[in-house]
């Protein structure tokens, strides 16, 4: 297990389309473990494989609801409602912006044993699913921000 380096905005890899995972190899297992560790270390609630430099369709999430979710080859199959609120990304450090997302999302994916399942989420989980799945298609939340991206340095810039 290791903490991996999180790629940040400007890195080309974050704009690329990820490949579907065909089978769970030891390398993929290790990647998933490392992704959880990296996510917890950086105080995140979700992380997608391209953020640690791997172009595979893998997402890990923990929104403090008592579950660890792994989404492999996820497809969002249903969305409804709407929520508007602040969102931030480990690949866009020190910034935050207002993003509108569906309030309810249903996603079909494979778990770490390559078994297919469906996950439904509301509010934070729904937001997280949308945010992480977008990474797999080379999209960042910054393009969806309403108004300004706010930054978070201690001092006012001159």
């Amino acid at each position: 297990m290791a903490i991996r380096q999180v790629r940040t905005i400007g890195d080309d890899i974050l704009t690329k389309e990820c490949k579907r995972v065909k089978e769970i190899t030891p390398r993929v297992q290790e990647l998933i473990e490392d992704m959880f560790e990296t996510m917890y270390e950086t105080n995140g609630v979700g992380l997608a494989a391209p953020q640690v430099g791997v172009l595979k369709q893998i997402v890990v999430m923990d929104v403090d609801d008592g579950n660890q979710y792994v989404l492999i080859n996820p497809e969002i199959i249903e969305t409804s409602g709407s929520q508007t609120g602040p969102e931030g990304c480990l690949s866009v450090p020190g910034k935050s912006g207002t993003v509108t997302r569906p309030n309810h999302v249903k996603v079909r994916a494979f778990d770490e044993n390559m078994e297919e399942y469906e996950l439904e989420g509301e509010e934070l989980l729904a937001r997280c699913i949308c945010h992480e799945c977008a990474h797999l298609h080379g999209q960042l939340f910054v393009d969806l921000v309403e108004g300004d991206l706010m930054d978070v340095n201690a001092e006012e810039e001159e």
Binding site: V45, S96, N153, E155, E156
Partner: protein, 448 residues
């Protein structure tokens, strides 16, 4: 995705917005706060009281709060981002001056606010500074008056040149004390008993002012406009000190009275009440908006011997030349006497503005003097304690115009005893009397 946060409570969001408007954008605290409370009328009474208290307290103690923050933060207050600065200021106020809120709750709410305003990366900074302040909260004592009483240095220096040091210090203390709302009762409309009963039925704590029998002090009310006594025009918000100006005018039935800068009309309504339906009071002020305030009050109270007009007091109106039995000149001033109620005054004042005010007052007094009938009276008043605008202005007036001072002895009730009453003026000082800082001078025009 990064971790989002719990939503801060709505009242703290409102406090932050209101304080940003006032402290960062220079809005007037009473205007901005009133607008916010009108907008959020659905909030519980306790929330509204909380908002008012934190907003007013943070502004009032801003200099003391900033001194504490500068001691405990690596980034100076002046260099902080406005949102962060405001969150910290309102939190320090709650930690140091509101005992009933647990410090940990204040810190948590501050962190939530920080994140909710998109400054996720600064939550550690905010939390760290506030926790440091909580740990040291009993150790903040300042010996200099500016930081101890949250008053700009130049004002303290100015007053020290005008008053003995002990008087200045007691004023500084008085400005920070809680001040109940003073209302004057329109005795023409209802008796004192009826008015007190009505207020007490609505849960207001009522005390009769020690300075004037027709004035009541109100505490623990939610929203003035919601009080029956207010809606019926029985009460009028007016400090006793300002009621004194009308007492000093002491009109006789049938008098023609011109109030040259009268909005929102408190003194004029008082005079109209005293005239008992006879005579005429004309209230003037500079703008439509101000005159509308008078008209609102007029409509509520229904006096028929009062008229409101837009007129620039600096401009002479020949129609009133030597026509007025009484001219009321309650002029624009620095407002230092009401810093206890409107604390932003102390931050917005400047020596240059004082000079301009002195000139403006002289300009208006010059015009106003011409309206007074021979033998008639001119009442000059301000809500300040600045001698340049008060005693000096009185001397200047007596020197340049055909007036003599008109004694105030016996006109202000028994609780005010100042040697200067005989000489026709009085300076009420906060801390010495339970009222605003106020100045009144009465002049009588020579008869020939």
């Amino acid at each position: 995705m990064t971790k989002p946060t719990t939503k801060p409570t709505e009242s703290r969001e409102i406090i932050l917005d209101v304080l940003m408007e006032i402290l960062e954008k220079g809005g007037y605290s009473h205007v901005i706060l009133r607008q916010a409370l009108e907008k959020y009328q659905y909030l519980e009474k306790s929330d509204r009281a909380f908002i008012t208290r934190v907003v007013e307290g943070t502004i009032e103690y801003r200099l003391t709060i900033d001194a504490i923050l500068d001691q405990c933060s690596k980034v100076s207050v002046a260099k902080m981002k406005p949102v962060i600065r405001t969150i910290l200021r309102m939190s320090v106020y709650q930690i140091l001056w509101m005992d009933r809120i647990p410090d940990s709750a204040v810190c948590n709410e501050a962190v939530n606010l920080t994140i909710h305003r998109h400054f996720q990366g600064l939550k550690g900074f905010v939390n760290g500074v506030l926790r440091t302040i909580v740990r040291q909260k009993d150790s903040f004592t300042f010996t200099d008056w500016s930081r101890r009483y949250s008053m700009p240095d130049w004002l303290i220096e100015l007053w020290k040149r005008q008053y003995p040091a002990a008087v200045v210090e007691s004023m500084l203390q008085a400005f920070l004390e809680d001040i109940p709302t003073t209302v004057r009762c329109n005795l023409d409309k209802a008796s004192m008993e009826e008015i007190s009963d009505s207020l007490e039925r609505q849960g207001v704590e009522v005390t009769v002012s020690p300075l004037a029998p027709h004035a009541l002090l109100l505490e623990h009310y939610d929203y003035l406009d919601g009080l029956e006594a207010f809606q019926k025009g029985w009460i009028q918000v007016q400090d006793v000190s300002s009621g004194f100006a009308s007492e000093v005018a002491n009109p006789r039935a049938g008098d023609q009275i011109l109030d040259v800068c009268g909005a929102p009309g408190g003194k004029s309504l008082h005079l109209a009440d005293k005239l008992k339906g006879t005579g005429l009071v004309v209230v003037r002020d500079l703008t439509e908006a101000k005159i509308r305030l008078v008209e609102d009050n007029l409509e509520r109270t229904g006096f028929t011997n009062l008229r409101a007009e837009v007129w620039d007091a600096r401009e002479f109106d020949p129609a009133w030349e030597e026509k007025a039995d009484i001219v009321m000149a309650d002029l624009p001033c620095s407002g230092f006497g009401i810093i206890g109620k409107k604390p932003d005054i102390k931050y917005q004042a400047s020596p240059e503005k004082l000079q301009e005010l002195v000139k403006l007052q002289q300009e208006i007094l010059t015009v106003a003097s011409r309206y007074v009938k021979p033998g008639g009276k001119l009442i000059y008043s301000t809500c300040t304690i600045d001698r340049m605008e008060n005693e000096d202005q009185r001397s200047w007036f007596l020197e340049h115009f055909p007036f003599e001072s008109s004694s105030l002895t016996g006109l202000l009730g028994e609780s005010i005893s100042e040697e200067t009453l005989e000489d026709g003026y009085v300076q009420l000082i906060p801390g010495r009397y339970p009222c605003d800082g106020f100045f009144i001078a009465a002049f009588q025009k020579h008869k020939d």
